[in-house]
Amino acid sequence: MLTALPVTLAAVLAAAALADGVLGTVPPAVLPFAVAVAVLGSVRMHVELGRHAVSVTMVEAVVVGMLLHLSPAGVVVAAALGEALVCAWLRQSPAKLLYNVASTSTAALLAALAFVGFHDGGAADGVTWGAALAAACAYATFTHASTSLAVSVMEGSRFLRVFTASLAPVAIASVISASLGLVAVVLVSVTPGAIALVAPLVLLMIAETRRLAAHRAEHLRFERLYAASSRTGGLTGLAEVLGTLGDEARSLVTGAAGLCCTAGADGTWTGVVVTDAGARPAPGPVVEAIVELVAPVAAVEVPGRSIPTTVLALDPSAESLVVARSEEGAAAPVVLAVLRQLAGDDGSGARAEVLAAFLGHASLTVANARLYADVEAALAHQVDLNRQKDDFVSAVSHELRTPLAATIGSVLTLRRMDERLNPEQRATLMDVACRQAKRLQRLIEELLTLATVEHGEAPRIDTPVDIVRMVDDVVEELRAQRAPEPLPPIRFVDDGGGLVRTSESKLRQVLSNLVENACKYAPGGPIDILVHHDGGTSRIEVVDSGPGIPPADRERVFERFVQLDQSSTRSQGGTGLGLYLCRQVAVLLGGTLTLDDAPGGGSRFVLTLPSPAPPPRSERFGAEATPLLAATATGRDPR
């Protein structure tokens, strides 16, 4: 769309001039002038303005010659042809070529018409030379204005700012080259050898203009450095920070693609790549290649041919890569990289230095974002803990109130209605009161255990515990508790001795809970307890033949106050804390407690414990053990 403007303008002016008949004819001398425009035009210096650059050339020297020797039509054709050659030589995009050729033609047409307007085709006098000089300067002004317009639109900045920021080198180069061109044309018409007088001056001019352009570019770069630092100071989100830093880096050293990479606490590098299309996470191989490219505390500009292919894939038209890496002890490790579509020049070192200077700020900004994220995470964790605590308190309150309600209610009824109750009713109320009071007692005991377990105080784990005896004890204790109700048949298989070095009381607590649970949910039995010693770990399995627990709920049973089947748990006097406690204790003992399928469809709780010394081999069955099961469990055939 931007290109349409100069194309239309050129067409309108050409049409008007043609109608006026002032253009004249195109002589064959157009070709050498076009070549001269192309040669001088391809020697260009860049004044970098953010992500784009304004180029400074000395074609005005040729423009003066064209004005004096060609008809207006010839000037336009020579300038357009020359510009087209330059664009083709620099492999510029078709849109850019069209824009440049159109604006050059317009500028050439304006200059030619101005020149024709001032001198009336008379002798080669001062007026003619003055008109040629003025027309060449008009040409320069127009081309600079159209370039500035294009850059300001692409950068999203104000036209006047772009125009004036790069005006000084452009104006000086134009005025001097136009004057030198005029001198050369006038003197050459006297004697061809005069070119030798002008040549050194032209070379000196080119060198000086280069220096001026580089100087201006550096000045502007420092201005951008200050602006970039102030713009990125207050950012907090890490992804946003990386994106903004990458964007600032590319406008700092005039690149099409900017990368900002940083390493996390684990040393893994990640990065964000920013182009005109926006910011996106950088592919892993690109980040790796960039980070390997440069040592800590180094900044370099790498020519196009040395850019790793993975990186070049981000922008295949890149001609150079500026990359800088922070020092080892920096607040946060950061690597900044910018792919430039302009080849390296005198400013390479200065660009690397500016990027390195920005890196210090980038490192602090990234560190700041990381700290911010850490604080936020810590705060969220605290809020979550607080909520968990509230939930726990309210759950405990509920769990305490229910058995208390049954106990108090029963006792109050017993006292008030004593004479109206028959013995059966009295027994029922007594049973309720006793059962619920016991549930209350157990709940309080478990809550107290919970407090110590959650405190994370590891018990002394240096008692040798005889698992065989412990299982016997646990089963007998349970049998006594449940009397006169019988226990389901329990089968016990131990594949070798029973000594585990662990905390006796804690292990007993876990085993007792697991066995009790199994009896609860598989009242018909049988229940298998298998002990397995394998190198450094002991594995205790409690397998029931109950209904089992669906896979989706298997982790939930280890949560606090989760009772999958509330009514049956309550009727069994459960508290909803048992399995949660068992797992906490198992972890405290350095082991694990998991739940999976039993072969027969019931539940299998697996407790693993670290056991430093494998105990001697022995075998033992519980009262109801069957040899067949022993064979299955140990993989040996007794027959």
Binding site: L404, I408, G409, T413, R420, T428, R570
Partner: protein, 132 residues
């Protein structure tokens, strides 16, 4: 004036609480039907049209608050007074109970006499014990 309470439906998932409620209410001369969860209670309420419902909150399937809301939304059961009897004692829960249309809110642990007294004075606003 409604008819004096004769038939009471109780909904609680804890069998011991149910046993206690059944005994207390029956000793006071009411006929009692038991439900183990909210869904069962909702169905029974519709079918039996009891004179009063005593419901727990934390029950399987449908909890007490949902049960209460369902009852109040249904033409057939909206006039049956509902007493919430629960361990959920926070202000928020009590407020939710009243909002949902509970006639009375009792927190566990509770005195069975308190419930009986409320039922006996259901039609006599001055005779109510103060809401807890």
């Amino acid at each position: 004036m409604t008819t004096p309470v004769q038939r009471v439906l109780i909904a609680d998932d804890d069998p011991d609480i149910r046993a206690l409620l059944v005994m207390t209410l029956e000793l006071s001369g009411y006929s009692v039907t038991e439900a183990e969860d909210g869904a069962q209670a909702g169905a029974l309420a519709k079918e039996l049209q009891p004179d009063l419902i005593v419901a727990d909150v934390m029950m399987p399937v449908t909890d007490g608050f949902d049960l209460l809301e369902n009852l109040k939304a249904d033409q057939a059961t909206m006039d049956i007074p509902v007493v919430i009897l629960t361990a959920r004692a926070s202000d928020k829960d009590v407020w939710r109970g009243w909002q949902a249309g509970a006639s009375y809110y009792i927190t566990k642990p509770f005195d069975p006499d308190h419930l009986i007294h409320y039922i006996e004075h259901l039609d006599d606003p001055d005779g109510h014990p103060l809401p807890c």
